[in-house]
Amino acid sequence: MSVSSIKEFETIKHPVHEELAGYEGAKFGMWLFLATELLLFGVLFAGFAIFHAKYPVEFKLAHMSLDRVMGSINTVILITSSMTVALAIDAIQRGKRNLSIWFLVATILLASGFLVVKYFEYTAKFHHNIFPGNAQQVVIDHHTHQYGPVPSQWEGKAVDKNGVNLFFSFYFVMTGIHGLHVLIGMIVLTWVLIGMIKGKYTHWYYTPVENSGLYWHLVDLIWIYLFPLFYLIQ
């Protein structure tokens, strides 16, 4: 069944189809869904803020264990992938299907890059006996990056092992759930890619591509908050 304009497509009297809501409706629905994701992560940010206030010394000490280089690489990867997905949408808006395919592939590859870096980060932590719920070690020296058991004092202040543990609990849970969203985003983008290859999307119908892009931007946005919170704040 072929149609020759968006208008005709949107008014097709086919009994039940997602297109009932139209392009605007679908986008609106996506934004509403993204609001729920913000609230989901909001709980974690709120929890982090509360424990940061309770254990300022321990959080400061523990955060030295996070590798800023890897964190920065991941930030660059995600920002670039947001750009590539935007370009993919732009390409299909202009009818350039092949270009869009390449940009989608690039986005997915960058996303897997993110997850690979994450894998190395996590395994490094495990190697140093830092597990969610059971962080036995921490970086005790900025300069040498030497790992040692959690000290009872640091920079003249008492250190509560619980505080260090809680930092890492938040680290693993927040970056882990974010990583899960990266994975979900990759799966969604792959599904869109397959559709793109099969020719489902054209310059007048690309709603799923755009909505997936929106989702991907949210995943990126959350990382933009996570990264400074964990890796940068002194």
Partner: protein
């Protein structure tokens, strides 16, 4: 020259006559069928939750161990709460009546995202199965899962909370589906100021579903991580904060009670005008107060934490805000009473006497909320049977009775048939008496200081416990009669006409049951769908709106 070809979608067939196979139902994207599937499922869970309630009350018929051990009792009240909350009442009216009626009431052929609608049903169903896996080694945490107890206790708490988390997704999917539907799918000429109040109610509810659910979702995920990974966030021994769990939990669970009651208010607003032959009084006030309640509901969760160890200042603020949310609710009651004034009340109509009974029970529900909003009295009443009675009056006396009223009211529309009216009346009477007999004594128990979630109690509390247990048997019997009547009549009831009530809202302007695509021709709107009053009219305009 066109030959007569068998048309793929015969628009004159009712929705029940299309796609009749089981596969047809299971893969349907028709909002009406999805609503019915939700209805069957939640009703089965209602029965399971109801039986566990009867067993809880049975144990409490006398002090001491009557039938069960304390552990079994604790499991029973957990099951009752968890099943009734997550598997029955949260989907409740929106997933059943809401799904069926929303597109019909706005003149649309379906909701904005029909496939997501079907997905929400399966997400809910799978979530419910996952939570029921916990029955293999049932949780005894109470439906509120307070840490640290819920972190340490034996039992498949993770399965139960994971199931609740997944069902939360279904709630979110329904939420944004309804919001986009109301914004984008209204038939030409239907503005926001002419929307049926049930639609306003569903819209306000959807906002809450969207914004509150993720919070409890994440809270439960954190609880799961506590159990599985021992992360420590709620564990006092590891520097965590158990009260934080309560804060996150009630941030959702207070708004959720408005998810439960707002649609019920919507049903009442639809039924009263029809059976009073009066316009709804204060349309704007009711519509805006629904939105106001939805918004303010996010600001009062702390009233569940008045004796939790929270700061005193927080308690003052939450008490003040709690009074605030009482005002829009009171206004609705006055508006409904004014709708009855100078009307012609068909009090023998089943939906009408259910609704009138709702007004009685909801005044009790709402007013007893005040005892709990006042700080000094709440200190005494918190975690006593007074609270149990209050929330059963709102949830059962309010939401469940409204759901059943709505099922009776829209029964002809949904099934094309009538239920047995005599059986319906006796069922209602037994149910109404039984419900009040079960829960009125519990206010007295609360005033006497009887705590909640107690397996055993001191003998001087026995009198009211005994009355309450006996009441529960009639409460249960009432449901059996009422629901059996509806179920059997759905298949064998006498045929009903398209608009037996001469009602004005759009769902009545199509056949009973409706065709698959709801309307054969695009419906047109009367100036007001509540224009029932006859005074000063030459002709009763409601009488001229006959069905297609």
């Amino acid at each position: 020259m066109a030959h007569a070809v068998a048309h793929e979608h015969d628009h004159n067939k009712s929705y029940l006559e299309v796609g009749r196979s089981i596969w047809g139902w299971l893969t349907t994207t028709d909002h009406k069928k999805i609503g019915i599937m939700y209805l069957f499922t939640i009703m089965i869970y209602f029965a399971v939750g109801g039986i566990s309630a009867l067993l809880v009350r049975l144990e409490l018929i006398a002090p001491g161990k009557t039938f069960f051990s304390p552990d079994t009792y604790n499991v029973l009240f957990t099951l009752h709460g968890a099943i009734m909350t997550f598997l029955f009442i949260v989907p409740g009216i929106p997933a059943t009546l809401g799904n069926f009626l929303l597109p019909l009431m706005i003149g649309a052929k379906d909701v904005a995202f029909p496939r997501i609608n079907l997905a929400s049903y399966y997400v809910y169903l799978i979530g419910s199965f996952i939570s029921l896996v916990s029955l293999l080694s049932p949780a005894d945490t109470g439906w509120t899962f307070y840490a640290p107890y819920s972190m340490k206790t034996n039992g498949l708490v993770v399965w139960l909370t994971l199931g609740a988390f997944i069902m939360g997704f279904a709630s979110i999917l329904t939420g944004f589906n309804f919001i986009v539907t109301v914004h984008r799918m209204r038939a030409p000429g239907l503005g926001w100021s002419n929307l049926p109040l049930f639609v306003w109610a569903l819209y306000a509810t959807a906002i809450i579903q969207l914004l509150a659910t993720p919070v409890v979702g994440m809270n439960l995920v954190l609880l799961i991580f506590e159990r599985v990974l021992d992360i420590g966030i709620f564990n006092p021994a590891k520097g965590g904060d158990p009260i934080l769990f309560e804060q996150f939990f009630w941030f959702y669970s207070h708004p959720v009670v408005y998810i439960m009651i707002l649609p019920a208010f919507g049903v009442v607003s639809e039924i009263l005008p029809v059976f009073s032959r009066r316009p709804i009084f204060g349309y704007k006030a009711i519509a805006y107060s629904s939105l106001a309640i939805a918004l303010v509901s996010f600001l009062v969760w702390g009233h569940h934490l008045f004796v939790s160890g929270m700061s005193d200042w927080a308690r003052y603020i939450f008490s003040f805000l709690t009074f605030f949310v009482a005002v829009p609710t009171a206004i609705k009651i006055f508006n409904w009473l004014a709708t009855l004034w100078k009307g012609s009340l068909e009090i023998t109509a089943t939906p009408m006497y259910y609704t009138l009974g709702f007004l009685f029970m909801f005044t009790i529900a709402g007013l007893t909320g005040l005892h709990l909003a006042v700080l000094s009295t709440d200190v005494y009443l918190h975690d006593t049977y007074f609270v149990v009675a209050h929330f059963h009056y709102t949830m059962q006396g309010g939401t469940v009775f409204a759901l059943i009223a709505g099922l009776h009211y829209w029964f002809p529309k949904i099934t094309g048939r009538w239920y047995n009216k005599k059986v319906a009346f006796w069922g209602w009477l037994i149910l109404f008496v039984g419900f009040n007999a079960t829960f009125l004594p519990q206010f007295l128990l609360g005033l006497e200081g009887m705590p909640r979630r107690y397996f055993d109690y001191l003998p001087h509390f026995q009198t009211w416990h005994l009355v309450s247990t006996i009441g529960s048997w009639f409460n249960g019997l009432g449901y059996v009669i009422v629901l059996t009547n509806l179920l059997v009549s759905a298949f064998t009831g006498e045929k009903a006409e398209a608009n037996p009530y001469n009602a004005l809202s759009l769902e009545w302007q199509t056949s009973s049951p409706p065709p698959e695509t709801n309307f054969i021709t695009t419906p047109t709107f009367p100036a007001s769908i509540y224009d029932y009053g006859t005074e000063g009219k030459e002709e009763d305009t409601s009488k001229t709106k006959k069905a297609v």
